[in-house]
Subunit: 185 residues, 2 copies
């Protein structure tokens, strides 16, 4: 706290603002943990999805895996990347709890948070678009709803989107918090 | 400049920082204009896409419009919303050029910029996922590549994604700039 005040070249005592900044930093840490759980769960749920239908012909076994659809592979990669980033950002978040006046690290965090928000949103919404087609099909394009056959496959992939979208909302909050912390130094 | 210094309760002269903040605010304004052009062009290009094939049977005319695929409708809505937001945010951006010390309006901008970034990314990547299926099809799910018939329709929809993705990159830069401006008050 003191070293931060010296660094900024200010002499006024800023205890309440610093206290609030500490609160913001702790909230930041908690939100990161929750987002990590969400994206990790999403990635694992999607990555382990497969369904083999109980009937088969002599030559074909009807089997659906997540990587039959390239978009779902992208979804898993996006979630894994964001999870790894969140783990890496946790030490920086702890550093912000201890030294709430640091400035450059916050800007770096804002930048990477924003990039990761984009990646996560891209993965989640691309997968959602495919899940929508899988559920409803599209008569104009002659795409059939595969969910009528692969029922549990569809339920699993749809469900695994939730964690990602929770992560998106949390990232928006994280960026807002970083902005608040930057403005209240 | 002076009123800002008084507002903050500081007595030091901060001309170089304020000058840089003015530069950041002007850059912010320009980036917003470019992003507006990109999203508007994307929305209009997708919204006016349709193709009627030169052959038809007695009962069916083969015609593809953007709203045959719900995801493309979402794409147009997302781009229209983001364009409208960008127009509304321009006055605030001009306000930041004049008064570069304002703080609350910047945080409000960061929040809405982040939300709009999410919306735009969601629209663009969902549309990209559908365009991918339209181009490549998916043999496992029995979805056919419709681009073999609707050639110009596919080219138009693919091309209209570009403006949106440019917009996404610009939004990331905008949020970074806002963070920089907040830290350098």
């Amino acid at each position: 706290m003191k070293s931060g005040a010296i660094e900024l070249g200010e002499t006024k005592t800023s205890t309440p603002k610093n206290g609030m900044n500490k609160g913001v930093a702790i909230l930041d840490f908690i939100l990161r943990l929750v987002a990590l759980v969400g994206t990790l769960a999403s990635g694992i749920a999607m990555g382990t999805t497969n369904e083999t239908l109980p009937f088969f012909t002599q030559f074909i076994r009807f089997r659906a895996e997540y990587n039959d659809l390239p978009t779902f592979t992208f979804f898993v990669i996006a979630n894994a990347t964001v999870s790894a980033y969140l783990v890496l950002s946790l030490p920086l978040s702890i550093f912000h709890i201890i030294r709430s006046a640091s400035e450059r690290s916050r800007i770096i965090l804002i930048f990477f948070d924003t990039a990761m928000l984009s990646l996560l949103t891209a993965g989640a919404s691309a997968a959602a678009a495919i899940v929508y087609v899988a559920h409803k099909g599209n008569t104009k394009a002659n795409w059939f709803a595969i969910c009528q056959q692969f029922n549990s496959f569809c339920e699993r992939t749809s469900g695994s989107l939730i964690g990602s979208f929770v992560g998106v909302v949390l990232f928006i909050l994280l960026i807002l918090l970083s902005g608040l912390a930057l403005s209240r130094r």
